[in-house]
């Protein structure tokens, strides 16, 4: 085992890791179970977290690759008491059914909107393309994320 240090949800943390451990393994064995394991091969987006401002798939990122980086997981974004506007919008739009894909959707959408608050519908679709949802049919998810994008996107969104 070796140590790595990185910023996790705003706090500098040091962990002992196995060399072949993935980031999702590290997070989940440290009780950060909001990050979901779907396909485990980078194809579904349910494990998305934000690394240095960009969405990445925690299931194929090795834990050692986050040394010195800044990682944000769903636990750092919001919870039932203090939901992030994206979480509120998804719940209000009826965009959450089983909820398994939701953390990944939130993280991928948040990474985009943090960088481009007035992202267009086309940009939102491009960024969420890799996030699979087996329940909702995507329309309500898209509606919720579009609603969270700052005004100025309405023209294209309509």
């Amino acid at each position: 085992m070796k140590e790595i240090t990185f910023t996790l949800n705003g706090e500098v943390r040091t962990f002992r890791i196995e060399p072949d451990e993935t980031l999702i393994d590290l997070l989940r064995r440290n009780q950060l179970t909001g990050t979901k394991r779907g396909c485990d091969t980078g194809m579904c987006g349910s494990c998305a977290v934000i690394m240095d401002g960009r969405a990445v798939n925690a299931c194929i990122l090795y834990a050692f690759q986050v040394e010195g980086r800044t990682i944000e997981t769903i636990e750092g974004v919001g919870d039932f008491d203090r939901p992030h506007p994206l979480q509120t919008a998804l719940a209000d739009a009826g965009a959450v059914q089983c909820g398994f894909c939701t953390p990944g959707m939130v993280m991928t959408a948040k990474a985009l909107l943090d960088q481009q608050p007035n992202a267009t519908e086309t940009e939102i679709k491009k960024h969420l393309d890799g996030n699979l949802c087996r329940c909702t049919g995507y329309v309500k998810i898209l509606d919720a994320v579009i609603q969270c994008a700052a005004p100025g996107t309405e023209e294209e969104a309509s």
Partner: protein, 281 residues
């Protein structure tokens, strides 16, 4: 991968020294997104390449130098006159993978469906390998074999030199897939140069529908000096298809792969020609 240890070097020299000392046990790791496709279970030591400062894209006199750890997102977001690789990057899926995957990791180990070799062949990009000395290899030579065979322990691909599109030149790119996040079934890239309304030079590259990405020299020579247009394109493509072995991927027959290629090469030629016509002083 069966990683038994890892190291995170901060300079190219440190990375190369580590890989040289490790020999076959050393494994360069960039975005790690190709690892799910690698079947090697031998114990390895991971050497992380992402702290070496090789992630810049610089505009130079004749084109661009893309550092080996520039990500697909870096290439998607980069903008400069004559830069065309954003058209390839935006078709690479998905967004988290674009954020992680690097150009180096995309071309050192090539699969039939790999996106990047095809446009790099069409653009005649040069690959920079840093070993005990630095050498530059043309894309045709680089992709003639599985590229990692060019690398000795301690060698790294450090940059890709991509020519800028200039006056009278056009670039066409198509990635044919069944769903937006699917792997390619046929990737085509064409670079074309016009002079006096004729094709002065053209490069046609194809992947996914063939066992490995490749150029199509018979089509290129049939079109060089010709007057461009739908008939010339179709004739040259039909006459030149036999030079490649066609191989359909995942549910696509070899015959259909050949057919897809014939349609998409004409489309890419048309797109490149259209751009070249508009791309005047």
């Amino acid at each position: 991968m069966n990683y038994i240890d890892f190291t995170i070097p901060q300079t190219l020299t440190e990375a190369r020294d580590a890989l040289k000392a490790l020999g076959p046990e050393g494994m360069p790791v960039a975005g790690s997104t190709l690892h799910v496709f690698l079947r090697d279970e031998a114990p390895k030591v991971a050497v992380d390449l992402r702290q070496l400062g090789l992630n810049r894209i610089d505009a130079e006199a004749d084109g661009f130098v893309v550092g080996a750890t520039a990500t697909v997102t870096d290439m998607d977001e980069y903008a400069a006159p004559g830069w065309v690789l954003d058209r390839v990057a935006c078709e690479f899926v998905t967004q988290p993978i674009r954020n992680m995957a690097t150009i180096g990791g995309s071309i050192v180990r090539v699969f039939p469906w790999s996106d990047w070799p095809v446009p790099l062949l069409a653009l005649d990009a040069q690959l920079v390998i840093t070993g005990d000395d630095e050498r530059t290899m043309g894309s045709s030579e680089f992709f003639a074999v599985q590229p990692f065979h060019h690398l000795h322990p301690g060698d790294l691909l450090t940059a890709v030199q991509v020519p800028a599109l200039r006056t009278g030149e056009g670039f066409g790119y198509f990635k044919e897939r069944r769903t937006s996040t699917d792997f390619s079934r046929c990737t085509v890239a064409v670079w074309l140069q016009l002079a006096q309304h004729k094709i002065a030079a053209v490069r046609v590259a194809i992947g996914a529908a063939t066992p490995m990405p490749r150029r199509m020299p018979a089509i290129e020579s049939a079109l060089t000096g010709a007057r461009p247009g739908p008939d010339a394109f179709t004739q040259a493509v039909q006459a030149g298809l036999d030079e490649a072995r066609w191989k359909g991927l995942h549910g696509i027959s070899d015959d259909y792969a050949r057919h897809l290629a014939s349609v998409r090469i004409v489309d890419a030629l048309t797109a490149a020609w259209t751009e070249a016509k508009g791309n005047t002083e």
